[in-house]
Subunit: 288 residues, 2 copies
Amino acid sequence: MTHMLFVLAAAVAAATAPTPAEILEQSPADAWRDVAPGDLLLMDVGDRHRVAIELAPRFAPAHVGNIRALAGAGWFDRTAIVRVQENYVAQWGDASGAVAFPLGFERSVKVDYSLGGLPPAFDALPFADSYAPATGYSGGWPVATDGRAHWPVHCHSMVGAGRENPPDVGNGAELYAVIGHAPRHLDRNIALVGRVIDGMQHLSALPRGTGDLGFYKTRAERARIGGSRLASDLPPAERPRYQVLRTDSPTFDAWVQARANRRDRFFVQPAGGIDICNAMPPIRRIAD
Amino acid sequence: MTHMLFVLAAAVAAATAPTPAEILEQSPADAWRDVAPGDLLLMDVGDRHRVAIELAPRFAPAHVGNIRALAGAGWFDRTAIVRVQENYVAQWGDASGAVAFPLGFERSVKVDYSLGGLPPAFDALPFADSYAPATGYSGGWPVATDGRAHWPVHCHSMVGAGRENPPDVGNGAELYAVIGHAPRHLDRNIALVGRVIDGMQHLSALPRGTGDLGFYKTRAERARIGGSRLASDLPPAERPRYQVLRTDSPTFDAWVQARANRRDRFFVQPAGGIDICNAMPPIRRIAD
């Protein structure tokens, strides 16, 4: 990422450097990638509040295969938000354990919580991290690496597959989204399956559960899930379109450096650094 | 913190190391400090949802003096939550600008966003940070330092004093709490005045505003503030009592290391590190 250093030098030199928002406004079309309809999980929370999740099949292929099977069958529509723990997660699934799984669903799937080798197509962040020797992006997803292996990281809005104590019992039928400060101690301990790319507030602003670990104590507290499906199962004209800023684009490098060294009028002291979870790739929805 | 290294070695050696929760349960009484009633700001949000804030006078003495004057006059009771921005802040104050300030309030106060020298009574965290050469605790508060100066940091639940673009226009009449991932780029740019130590969910689960920066568009969306006062203005029998784990206690060191190297049954891979905002000093309320 030698071009990052040039961007940094330019930002320091120019008192009128563009703000992060201006950098995005001026970005070329090819700095953005489309979210594939087959990776776009849509669901409603409670009163038709739409949440959109981009799935990350590379990190947990069997879990994502299960999630696609569940979404295709409308299985999540018979589930609810069962847990909202302050500064931690909102979690949904079938609390009764009674909703039959569709064909193609595997109850027990294995996952490698970390993947061997350096991250492929790695765009490194040039700043220190409290949890790993290096962080950055692989195929656009936030990852950490120790040089021998790499793994996706638990930033705000990331979606994981809940499990019990044995490490191989998660299967994608119980999902959670991070709603608070990044719980990075979960990295390499739970399968991450995607990221909420729209409607995060419909999960994060839910009432907190008052039971242990933020579980709701009564059925009445649970918000229903509805309308769950993959965008690829909708007619093309009805599919919402999202784009994610490519982490291998000069626009992304400039945006990271502008975020790490804020020169907007408000700021008196640029930070000089940024952590991976404050540098999640920007998302935009393309108008219908 | 050489004793931290011994704790680390012990944790690695012992397969049955205590969990973070067990460490707190077994803590001696002298590992905890009382929150002083004169530093304990109480307020209700909306339908009498109590929020408790510990003030940090050392970092922003004039702001905290103003906040004490406002609380003593019940001034915040004529204000409301005006802004809730997803993954950022909940903010309250007098949106009308019409509520008269009490005696003792100073409209314009100066603050040093960073304080000279190393942090006094510094308990360093032995892990890297993305934003500063070192982080830790000073007098129990989370701080960062570059060796020449130190400053409090914007972790989840920290409370700051909103301001406009000129750096010296904040005065404590407009406050915000961090409700998402730590926005550390605000460090050294805004006065931090305290930390929410109870009732955080009454701020973080509020509906997000749909205006620019999460401001509510209509008056009807705003949750009223009520019952604001300092605990020291209540009769002693009515004061809630809180304690914060002392960051200079062996219990705190053991808790940090257990959080950085989780060995609870759930975990398969300890992180080996932790960031300052995932290691905020634990709080407990003493039963009445």
